[in-house]
Symmetry: C2
Subunit: 613 residues, 2 copies
Amino acid sequence: MKYSQTFIPTLREVPGDALIASHRLMFRAGMIRKLSNGLFVYLPLGLRSLRKVETIIREEMDAIGSLEIKPTVVVPGELWKESGRWTSMGDALLRVKNRLGADLVVSPTAEEAFTSIVRGELSSYRQLPLLLYQINTKYRDEIRPRYGVMRSREFIMKDAYSFHTGDESLDEHYQAQGRSYRRIFKRCGLTVIPVKADSGAMGGAGSEEFMVESEIGDNTLLLCKGCDYAANVEKAECKLDYSPRFSEDIARGAAANTPPMEKIDTPDVKTIEELCAFLKTGAGNFIKTLIYRGVNVELDLSTAPGCKNLSRRRPSPGSPEIWDEAFFAVAIRGDLDVNEAKLAAVLKASELTLAADTDVVRITGAPVGFAGPVGLDTVPVVLDQTVTGMNDAVAGALEKDRHYRHAAYGRDFTGWLTADVRTVRAGDRCPLCGGELYEKKGNELGHIFKLGRKYTKAMGVSYLDENGKTSFPTMGCYGIGLDRTLASIIEEHHDERGIIWPLPAAPYHVIIIPIKYQGAVKDACDTLATELETAGLEVLLDDRDERAGVKFNDADLLGIPWRIVAGDKSLAAAPPRVEVKRRSGGEPRLMPLREAAGEIAGAVHRELASFKG
Amino acid sequence: MKYSQTFIPTLREVPGDALIASHRLMFRAGMIRKLSNGLFVYLPLGLRSLRKVETIIREEMDAIGSLEIKPTVVVPGELWKESGRWTSMGDALLRVKNRLGADLVVSPTAEEAFTSIVRGELSSYRQLPLLLYQINTKYRDEIRPRYGVMRSREFIMKDAYSFHTGDESLDEHYQAQGRSYRRIFKRCGLTVIPVKADSGAMGGAGSEEFMVESEIGDNTLLLCKGCDYAANVEKAECKLDYSPRFSEDIARGAAANTPPMEKIDTPDVKTIEELCAFLKTGAGNFIKTLIYRGVNVELDLSTAPGCKNLSRRRPSPGSPEIWDEAFFAVAIRGDLDVNEAKLAAVLKASELTLAADTDVVRITGAPVGFAGPVGLDTVPVVLDQTVTGMNDAVAGALEKDRHYRHAAYGRDFTGWLTADVRTVRAGDRCPLCGGELYEKKGNELGHIFKLGRKYTKAMGVSYLDENGKTSFPTMGCYGIGLDRTLASIIEEHHDERGIIWPLPAAPYHVIIIPIKYQGAVKDACDTLATELETAGLEVLLDDRDERAGVKFNDADLLGIPWRIVAGDKSLAAAPPRVEVKRRSGGEPRLMPLREAAGEIAGAVHRELASFKG
């Protein structure tokens, strides 16, 4: 392809909102343009690289037997109502009414569509497993789209869905997807951090996120200095600083030497810091109690304190009951923070927020600041597991200006539920090896997830098993964001002059720069381009009437892996020579013109093969 | 690919709403499924053929130097407001509000997006022409989506847009697109009828539709029995049955022998039929006059009768003035019908409807039924050109129960504008050769169109020309519907047993059917499949444990061009043989197993090449 015949509008300047390297470089290299906030256009150069990523993903999906289909981008709102996500998905779901008043959704993901397709076809266990995927447009109505195509509103996603008779078959395909993800990212030249949700447990429900390190990452990762433990902070666990975890009985025993609990006056003491100063103790001896409001709670609350009269519903015959709204007290050691993502997962709540002050007053019978687990029976009390190790603690007394001291778990209070809802931090101990954890910011490129029967039950997808019994298939889902993957390649592979493409994602393999595109130089470049293209390489020939410096700068900016420069002088030598240079580094070297095409084509094919190997 | 490892849910039954062959067969062959009204999912087999069509189109676009880009599917409503189509596009435009209240559009077409992209990049004439295209999802909010993917709401379209300094460059690319369309449809095995809007005139504004004949076509075509004239009824012209067309002077001369015009009583005569009976004359001697209401009229009405005080606006500084609403009288020979599409094009009105009775009374000063061109000065009078040949006609007298007779054009009345606004019918005469015209129903697969400067002016896209003067580029647009093209291939190529794919669009080139997939038959089939795939062919191996009859029926239904059957008997012969048959016809023949792969691969490659040739 001749430069003058394509459309690569390179720029020296960078838009003010381009805060990260990939956004700046994709913009400057003429790969993308902004149509509007969060809506980006791929120009020819950008589209070439995007298609490379797409092809890699397609090849790896086909290789594990996943079958490509193409649902629509706009799907009926009815399907989302069946699954319950029409309401639970929140404002990121772009909802539309068509001219006839029917509800539509511009797909942000496609569990519903795939489940609906399979529902129409599935009758027998013989048809399972069914492994399907699409590579298609998605839309997520981000409030603050940022960082170019790294977090845009419209994007391309590969999303696969699998349907199985049981856990073993699901686990097999889940593992295959995981392996294919590792291959995909390797072929893209990306260093990913696979983050398992369940610290490596085999089988059962599971999920794994594929992260790249990024200073602007959405995710905080906790990594172990001693082993390969990696977890998203939303799910990270850590070793407790005591062990074993106390049962109520053991706790009562441990409290044998604790003085009897007593209520004390704590006038004008509002914060934990003030309380620590007042009682001359550390925050670690205090039980912090917070009141949360959960929405759409799926955890069974039928026997929970204070929940008897709450309104609940069953969205569809097969699905579990859901409590529309419920309040919870969460008690945790005073020096720690509640992890709301973990808490929401424990409660199976679609939304979780701190309760309003008026609700706190109603529930605790006291002003804000005096909540505590002792004697609290108006709501279910969730104890972080750290609290079960506390046998001489300070806690709010459910009265203004009053606290308990010498409160002991098992003796003076228990909870309705004990769970790990603590936010793990750098410095905490690895749950696997006890090593020190440290933090990194990461961006999620891919996610594989065992969904179970949530969608198949809610949407009534069933089949007859080997014994003629009606069963619901169990599902997995597996997504990769293509645009974000492409941007991440640039984040990992660039320098101050521009992009440095890994060969498999490069828009072209070779750029040929004639110092002046005329006479013998033109002939040599044209011949070289033809030879390279005949050998299966993708070649950009910079035939523009620009100064050599401009062409060199643009070549560095575009980041094409191999650069060949042809000028009068070296072509006049005997034998005629061209200058060959890798964008990734190393000195330019002169190569006989006659040998250049053969040598470079060989090197390119070997290198492409090495990414697959 | 083994049949058991893909997902081709064939069916004996047909959904009740599948009214045409392509819908029935795509459904039965497991190519598509319906997600909802007008929303279809491509299953693996359907997607393979859709991709074949996509690749053919992409290759032909690339071959004429059009550059692929990828705008978003969801685009800002602002762009559509700039072009004016936010309002003029009507209800087929799917409008969305996002969570921040911004207007969005799910693209039905992309003039606005491409114009906006070019606006951001264009500065100099040296950058032109700029030739861009996309192959992307579109959505049109059809009220009555029908006929499967032939008229669905969401679909895939190739839409190209070109930007030029002038008409010559535009015409050159317009012609190149036209040639590429002919190649695309030939490669798809489709017989298209190219329909020119302007009966073959070179240069200037123009458009050409590529139609396939279809009993359920949206379009009525008029074709000539004597030459290759083909026109959409919306634009069809025909030879006048007198000639030359009369100027006013000539008309006055022609009226020399006509008696003076006189007003006559026509009591209780309401319809043309009654009038003909009353006056004992034919409808061809009567001037039918209709009152129309036009909306958003771009034709310059500043000097037109009755239009002086109408409200008008200029949407943007560069664009022409638009009259919000204007009424017109249209006079035509009594035996003919007004073609509203042609009339709207003459008036440059975005909407055109017959005026309400109250408006007719106000404008003509008489009850409905007595309109006529004589003395009518409250609105502009548009004369169909047939009226200029009438020198002794009957016309309404703008009074209840009164008509004129002996009215003569040029002597007794003239019009504000004379134009061809007549609906051409089968039996009329070809405007090129005078041959008889006949009608066909057609579906539009593609459309190439010279847009001119409408969008570049409205959206302020400019560049500096060779003399440093600010200019607006002229545009062309070029669309093909992929889904509809695919369905049309099936419409043209099927029989009562199923699809008969032309090789370039076939999902697989060869289907191999083992009578029983075991032992020597299995080995022979596996080897054959590998040999064929190594030779670059796409092979479906029906390894299912089904009766031979089921496999044969499915093979006929799927329509794969070459069928190889392997059974114990013929494989036991010396030399071992397989049975080879073309889906398109001819007898099955036995072929030595050893030679089958080579012979079939050769034939397939030769045939594929012949479609490109």
